[in-house]
């Protein structure tokens, strides 16, 4: 037990003291903090820009030449200048030809020109259109509204009535039964957490594998194996990595939570961001539970396979099947999620198979309808398999660390395990 603690401390220290680990953790925390503070930061910059230009925003409005060839009765420029959504622009009615308008735009006197050729038909003359240009959308809306108002007025509908009719909106409220879930609302945080689970498990699993392979290829194993029990060596290593991974996960999630709350006023009208942070605390606990179990399961596999190689070059080949298995699990879950079929028979099956259940059951809990006994059964199966795989992995590890040369085939490993068991008896 004391040995296990020593190994655990050493292995955890290997991660925690490593520069790349610190940089990655702090980097991730910074990115999360900046992304979540972005509305506040961009507002700060926006304010500075406005105060820097002296304040007369009217003069700064984008000048747009308007040539009305539709033969409308009222002054179109007057109308558009009064539309609040077009407040950034100032329309100037000009009675010139299209080619003259083109010259004016070309010379930069006007940002662009609009030629109205019918109540709902127009041509826009512009020098360049920026990437996130919203003018067309807003302008077309205004044009359409103007047209409808005019038509309604022609039918004798008063302007006030027309406004009411045109601006009517639907008020809908969704009432969920306590068992149900809004997949849309849960989608984003499930997506994010599944991604975190996937990366954490695959990155840390591979780190465990390369750490084992390094000890073997550098022959440090010769000394370790004669100084400590192989079981302690493997479990200490896997547990050390899992604590490091969890610490990183908690730090990043904690940063996200903190900065969301600091910037909460900026997210009042962002449903997606709100839905992510409205995640029930139970989901967070499930994330940690499935991370620990899923990570241990895969880390045991990675460690035992890595113990069979003699050189670093062989490592990626031998762990490939495990990585493959995990990527398949990830794909199944991702496709089911985006298809909205999180309770499909395939997902139900996957949520009980220990190698896929950490992600599949997690998704079903978050987005689907899953009854309590299924959750319990899935977690129980996962725990039992993790322990089973752990014991088997320790046995393979014990044999593997002393083997040098070509990594053995699976049937050879089985034969060795049998022979070993017979000897220990």
């Amino acid at each position: 037990m004391k040995q296990l603690k020593t190994i655990f401390d050493f292995e955890f220290g290997n991660y925690a003291k490593r520069k790349s680990f610190l940089i990655l953790t702090i980097g991730l925390m910074l990115i999360v903090a900046v992304v979540l503070s972005w509305p506040r930061i961009s507002e700060l910059f926006a304010k500075e820009q406005i105060s820097g230009t002296g304040g007369d925003t009217a003069a700064e409005r984008v000048q747009i030449a308007l040539i009305d060839e539709s033969g409308g009765q009222s002054d179109a420029a007057l109308y558009f200048n009064a539309v609040p959504a077009l407040g950034k622009y100032r329309f100037v009615s000009l009675n010139i030809s299209v080619s003259e308008a083109e010259k004016k735009v070309e010379s930069g006197e006007y940002n662009s020109a609009i030629v109205l050729t019918g109540p709902l038909v127009y041509t826009r003359i512009a020098r360049n259109i920026p990437m996130n240009d919203s003018f067309a959308y807003t302008f077309e809306n205004a044009l359409l509204t103007r047209y409808r108002q005019q038509r309604l007025a022609a039918y004798g509908v008063s302007e006030a009535d027309a406004d009411t009719i045109l601006n009517a909106f639907v008020t809908g409220t969704v009432k969920m039964t306590s068992e149900g879930k809004d997949q849309m609302q849960n989608f984003f945080y499930t997506y994010i957490l599944i991604f975190l689970l996937y990366f954490a498990i695959i990155v840390y699993g591979q780190m465990v594998a390369s750490s084992v392979a390094t000890e073997k290829s550098s022959r440090a194993m010769e000394l370790l194996i004669t100084s400590a029990n192989p079981k302690s060596l493997m479990f200490g290593k896997v547990l050390g990595a899992s604590l490091a991974g969890m610490l990183q996960l908690v730090l990043v999630l904690g940063t996200a939570y903190l900065f969301y709350n600091l910037n909460a006023p900026y997210y009042t009208d962002s449903a997606i961001v709100q839905s992510i942070f409205a995640m029930p605390i139970s989901m967070l606990l499930y994330t940690l539970l499935f991370f620990i179990l899923g990570f241990l399961l895969y880390a045991f596999l990675y460690a035992s396979l890595a113990s069979l190689v003699s050189r670093m070059e062989e490592l990626s080949t031998i762990v490939l099947p495990v990585t493959f298995l995990f990527v398949i699990a990830f794909m199944v879950v991702m496709f089911s999620m985006s298809g909205g079929k999180v309770d499909s028979p395939l997902m139900v099956l996957c949520s009980f198979i220990p190698f896929t259940s950490p992600m599949a059951m997690f998704t079903r809990i978050a987005m689907g309808e899953v009854v309590a006994w299924q959750i319990t059964a899935s977690i129980a199966i996962l725990i039992i398999s993790t322990i089973g795989v752990g014991i088997l992995a320790a046995k393979i590890y014990r044999l593997g660390v002393l083997l040098y040369g070509t990594p053995p085939k699976p049937n050879q490993i089985l034969r060795m395990l049998k022979a070993d068991k017979a000897q220990l008896r």
């Binding site: 190994i7 022959r219 440090a220 000394l223 004669t226 400590a228 002393l402 060795m416 000897q423």
Partner: protein
Amino acid sequence: MELSVSEITKSFGENKVLEGVNFKATSGSALGLLGRNGAGKTTTIRIIMGVFPPNSGYVTVNGRPLDKDKLSVGYLPEDRGLYPKHVIGEQLIYLARLRGMKAKDAKASIAHWMKRLEMQEYANKKLITLSKGNQQKIQLMASLIADPKLIILDEPFSGLDPVNASMLKDVVQELIQDGKIVLFSSHQMNYVEEFCDSIAILHQGKIVLDGQIRDIKRSYDRSIITVRSMQNDVIENFCLARLRDLVGQTRKKRDELIISLKGPDQKNKLIGALAAQNFDLDSIGVYEPTLEDIFVQYTGDDMQTGERV
């Protein structure tokens, strides 16, 4: 204190590696565990270290099963290796703690050995930055920091320059004088002869020879005489022509003439006869095989138990 390895057998699958290995080693002396590559030395060492159990047989210390928690074992493996990218001091503390040492004691012990092996300046360096010989010294340190009572050194001199080799020789002599049990495995027979009072030769999973080196050498036929002289050719002819009643056969080995007598009691007669002829003799004496001769004889493929020279 006495380490005793009794009737150890071990096989991996169909492959029988050890078939009844016996030997004893006592504190205050070194035992040379010799054998060709693949003879089973490393397997024997690993069984002593408890890495895996033997199929049968046992390892005892003073008649009790070896308990690694009570009797610490220091091991310098033939395949050297530590963590190349870790700071030396840190990994030595880790290894000492794995063997049950407290961090404080480990630090004191490391400081002692760093000084003894003239390595103080390297304690805070990464292992990979050191020369091969210095890495070797760190490796040796790793096997000695936990103050083991039993020390197993597998090819400790490989890769050391003469100055470091001489420092290591002193250290090994000190360990022996301190009353440790030293198991010394090497193919460099000159070192084995220098340190070891006794040897055990493993061949194809069996001990084919063990005992005190002195006794083993003395057990060889004392009727073989070596003569060193500038006149070896003349002496050989003289022996074959004139001393046929004393001399069986002769052969030459580099600058030595080796004469097999018909019986050990003929030794003085031969010396007398050669002296009477007034040959220019540098030396004359009973032939003693070198350890290398003995090793080759017992482990060579054409091993013949009948004739010994």
